[in-house]
């Protein structure tokens, strides 16, 4: 039986939906730009507070709405991260949204709706619900990409549209196979007690559908083009919020389905090859790039490969899920600081080419240092969260006998040193003078600075969230 009291469990998405509608409406009544942003941020903060309160006073897992959603610590943890990341993006890109987006209330409202979709993605335990919420989270993104004013915006949006619908189709095909064999759409009822080829096939389709969204190679083709053509707030959201939601969903699906004691050797080998391909394609692709946005797009592909390592380990032991969750949260925090400082730099130089970074440190030391910490974290240098994430993910891999995959991952991360250090060289070493063509707002640096502090704190003392992440995964 559904009761109205169950609504309390989805209070934060509800608040966000109302905020989204309120933002749309208030545009008719006021011309003051700050009110729109202020109300959006208020909604986000309230829903974050609600989630935090729910997290603190959490008692037991609740299956709600006819077992289509589940309310657990895993959802709350991911939701808090997602809402905070989105608030940080909105806060930092305030200036950008006000000045460079023509339909700003629609922009914010769509972003909030996509966030709501992502929250339901994490909660969902039923394939139909998962499908609906995935659509809710990705459809607004298509429109948001098209908001960009660059010449590549429409191309980027169209590519994303085609591939998103295509991937949804593949995802649904996988669901059909699984439904055909097990007769159930609910994750709770699907427990693989034997290796059934149809189920494996279904899982592979399901995974490919997700892989599009997570930009895992070889389904990453849209990523560089979309990153290049999208407005920066959306690029940031795609590489932080979207990643958290997508990997959280993968963690839930993989840890629910594989709760039996059979070894899925073939599936593990398949996923390992995909993961290796993703790291390698991402890193080698990034070496060739001359455009900063494209470079970080390829770096995203490589990092998706690293995160997949943790997901593969999850098939064998459930507790490995905490490594991926830590990695993806750490990666989101890192990328937040990278993209925010990147936007600051782009505002200054009016260019996205790598050469435009030359000599940045001499004229803008603060943003250079913040950017450099982000890059070092992506590279996985000790004392940053990126390093801890890699150590955890690879330790989960070795723990589950995936030593070759771990070696491949570690070798890949030193290949990535080549292009990450190349960026540092441009910023710190180059003797050329930085060409400043525009001005920028300090909000980018401020928010990036806060996330850089998080990068360092979590890198030096990961136990700060790691123990609660272990807790959260144990409660799945």
């Amino acid at each position: 039986m559904m009761e109205y009291s169950e609504l309390i469990y989805i209070l934060s998405p509800i608040i966000l939906v109302f905020t989204s509608l309120f933002v749309l409406m208030i545009d008719f009544f006021t011309s003051r730009k700050s009110i729109i942003l202020f109300s959006a941020l208020t909604g986000l903060v309230i829903s974050a507070m609600v989630s935090i309160l729910q997290f603190i006073s959490f008692e037991a897992n609740q299956s709600i709405f006819f077992d289509t959603l589940v309310f657990d610590k895993f959802y709350l943890f991911s939701a808090i991260s997602l809402i905070l990341i989105t608030s940080a993006i909105l806060l930092a890109f305030y200036d950008y949204i006000v000045n460079q987006i023509s339909f700003r209330s629609e922009f914010i409202s769509l972003l909030l709706l996509s966030l709501v979709g992502s929250l339901f993605v994490i909660m969902a335990t039923d394939f139909i619900t998962i499908y609906l919420s995935l659509e809710l989270s990705s459809l607004p993104i298509i429109a948001l990409i098209a908001f960009g004013r660059g010449k590549f915006s429409l191309e980027a949006a169209f590519k994303y549209l085609i591939l998103a619908s295509f991937s949804t189709g593949i995802f649904l095909t996988g669901v059909v196979y699984i439904y055909g064999v097990t007769g159930s759409l609910s994750l709770n009822n699907i427990i693989l007690s034997e290796i059934n080829p149809a189920i494996i096939l279904g899982l592979v389709f399901l995974f490919i559908g997700l892989a599009f969204k997570l930009s895992i190679a070889p389904w990453h083709m849209w990523t560089p083009d979309t990153y290049q053509g999208s407005p920066m707030p959306i690029v940031t959201y795609l590489s932080t919020g979207s990643k958290v939601a997508g990997f959280a969903l993968s963690i839930r699906i993989f840890s629910e389905i594989f709760s039996s004691n059979i070894s899925f050797t073939n599936l593990i080998i398949f996923l390992s090859i995909i993961s290796f391909a993703s790291m390698t394609v991402g890193n080698l692709g990034a070496i060739l790039q001359k455009d900063l946005k494209r470079l970080f797009a390829y770096s995203t592909v490589a990092h998706a490969g690293y995160m997949l390592v943790g997901i593969i380990a999850l098939i064998s032991t459930k507790s490995s899920g905490s490594t991926t969750l830590f990695y993806v949260v750490g990666y989101a925090v890192t990328n937040l600081s990278v993209f925010l400082s990147l936007q600051h730099i782009i505002n200054l130089s009016k260019s996205t080419s790598i050469e435009s970074l030359n000599g940045l440190f001499k004229s803008h030391p603060l943003v250079s240092i913040i950017f450099a910490f982000g890059i070092l974290s992506l590279l996985g240098i000790p004392a940053t969260v990126g390093f801890m994430g890699k150590v955890l993910v690879f330790s989960a891999a070795v723990n589950n006998g995936l030593i070759i995959l771990a070696i491949a991952g570690v070798i890949n991360s030193f290949i990535s040193a080549y292009y990450y250090l190349g960026l540092l060289r441009n910023i710190f070493v180059s003797s050329e003078k930085f060409v400043q063509k525009g001005n920028s707002n300090n909000t980018y640096t401020l928010v990036a600075f806060i996330s850089t502090i998080l990068v360092l704190v979590l890198g030096v003392y990961p136990d700060l969230i790691l123990s609660s992440i272990d807790n959260v995964i144990a409660g799945l």
């Binding site: 240098i381 955890l392 030593i403 771990a406």
Partner: protein, 511 residues
């Protein structure tokens, strides 16, 4: 015993680096950095002198919980034992010398000293951390300061050399990380402590993996660790990065690189490769001694032969480092189950790390002084420098003679100990390696003869420098050279001060 003294020693340079951010005046920055390195040196000297040799074991332990997850457990565990105490002292000493040698730096002074101090922190961390993951963190962290120092303040193809250095070391580090994770994933390993500390109830990896089955065969884990340290040592054929990094690095960085960074690898070989793999199942380090001694001998002879051909002073010393670090491996590989012989060679090997650190530090320091004045390191353009700068030449001679193993200097002590120990076990290899000493005499004497004595070979139309207006180094320039000469001569005549320590440390590593 004073609590947290090791932690303070490690992080004092890093805290100074943060404090430097607040300073603006160049002189204040230089003064603060030198003052900080003096304090750190005093700390390290204090640790060295107050280490209780009668008690032995690990002392000055600081232990906190650090990461406590299902997937990895690690703690902040630092302390010193007989093996690491001299190396901590060496780091304190050479960092002091490096800071003092940098006082003339003009370009981006503040950043320069920040990186030097961070480098010191990370090296001190490597020598004192007793937790494997913590060790790895410090071992890798050193890359960023080194990359910046070489690529910004270097000369020549500095960016190329810096990138090469980082890529080589990261590749080695990649193998080490896998080895660490493989160790941790083994069922019997519950914590990552590198040694057993009975006082606080910690069982170290050597005990935990003794006779146990590991996730991957112990021999592979051994090789992974070995590759990481072979890159850093550097060992033929992985030595390629060293000459470039040395040649293009600024003086102080060369001192740090040759003096202490290479020793991190030797330290790792002793602490990890020797410490862990004596009682492992199916494979012991003793099975590989033939391979190790072969690699060591090749490094000695190859390094020495290549050194003979060098005309750039810095490159010459860099290649001689490869040869001299080969002795470390030669002495290291003579460990056997029969402990009477191996103590000689292992002690000699550890001593070689210390003495090579001081001797090469002095060499790079004096080459730096010569380069500052003549703007060239090409032997074909130097000559007769004794006439114009006698003091610099004197110190250069001291470093050269100590390096070729003249009795009375520290190099002799360590080399004779290594040969004494290895001769009984690997007579052929020892005889071959002894030719390395002959070659060393050849290249050192040839270099000093051409660069310091004879006639000046600068052509009259070459405007690199003006021979007649050359001046000797000032007192302040010579002070670090003087400081670093003290241990070279002290060990030469009274080696026991360090042998006692290394002996104590090695007896605990060999069980």
């Amino acid at each position: 015993m004073i609590n947290y003294l090791v932690t303070i020693t490690i992080f004092f340079p890093a805290l100074t680096a943060i404090f430097l951010l607040l300073l603006k005046d160049k002189n204040k920055i230089v003064f603060t950095s030198i003052f900080s390195s003096v304090i750190t040196f005093v700390f390290s000297l204090f640790l060295f002198l107050t280490y209780d040799k009668n008690l032995g074991g690990i002392q000055y332990i600081d232990h906190f919980k650090w990461i406590d997850s299902i997937n990895i457990k690690s703690s902040y565990l630092v302390g010193i034992d007989g093996f690491s105490a001299p190396l901590v002292l060496l780091t304190g000493l050479l960092s002091l010398v490096a800071c003092m040698a940098s006082w003339r730096i003009e370009k981006r002074v503040k950043e320069y000293f920040i990186w030097i101090l961070l480098l010191e922190t990370s090296v001190l961390g490597v020598f004192t951390s007793l937790d494997l993951l913590l060790f790895f963190v410090f071992f890798e962290f050193e890359l960023i300061p080194m990359y910046m120092l070489i690529s910004i303040w270097g000369s020549g193809r500095k960016e190329y050399s810096a990138t090469k250095f980082v890529i080589f070391t990261l590749a080695g580090g990649a193998f080490m990380l896998i080895a660490i994770l493989a160790l941790f994933s083994s069922a019997s390993v519950t914590n990552l402590s590198m040694v057993s500390i009975p006082e606080i109830g910690i069982l170290g990896i050597p005990e935990l993996i003794a006779g146990q089955k590991l996730v991957i065969p112990a021999s592979i884990i051994f090789i992974f660790f070995f590759i990481a340290f072979a890159v850093k040592l550097p060992l033929w054929p992985l030595h390629n990065w060293l000459p470039d990094a040395h040649t293009d690095a600024p003086t102080a960085v060369s001192i740090m690189l040759a003096g202490v960074l290479l020793k991190m690898a030797g330290y790792g070989l002793f602490r990890i490769n020797l410490g862990f793999f004596q009682e492992t199942l199916g494979f012991q380090i003793f099975d590989y001694t033939n391979l190790l001694v072969l690699l060591g001998t090749i490094s000695i002879i190859y390094g020495a032969i290549v050194t003979l051909r060098q005309t750039d002073l810095k490159r010459l010393i860099a290649y001689s480092s490869i040869s001299h670090m080969g002795y470390v491996l030669l002495g290291f590989s003579a460990m056997t189950n029969d402990q009477n012989y191996s103590y000689y060679s292992l002690n000699g090997s550890a001593m070689q790390m210390f003495t090579h650190g001081t001797i090469t530090g002095l060499s790079f320091l004096t080459v730096g002084l010569i380069y500052d004045r003549t703007h060239t390191r090409d032997i074909n353009k130097l000559g007769a420098l004794t006439r114009k700068m006698p003091m610099v030449a004197l110190f250069f001679m001291i470093s050269g003679l100590a390096s070729l193993g003249l009795p009375g200097f520290s190099g002799f002590v360590s080399e004779i100990m290594i040969f004494l120990g290895t001769y009984k076990i690997f007579p052929v290899y020892t005889i071959i390696s002894a030719f390395g000493v002959v070659l060393a005499a050849a290249y050192i004497l040839w270099m000093t003869q051409r660069a310091l004595f004879g006639e000046n070979k600068l052509k009259s139309d070459d405007k690199t420098y003006d021979f007649n207006s050359l001046k000797d180094a000032s007192m302040f320039d010579l002070l670090p050279a003087f400081i670093i000469t003290i241990p070279i001569i002290l060990i030469g005549i009274w080696p026991n001060i360090f042998i006692d320590f290394f002996d104590l440390g090695i007896k605990e590593i060999i069980r």
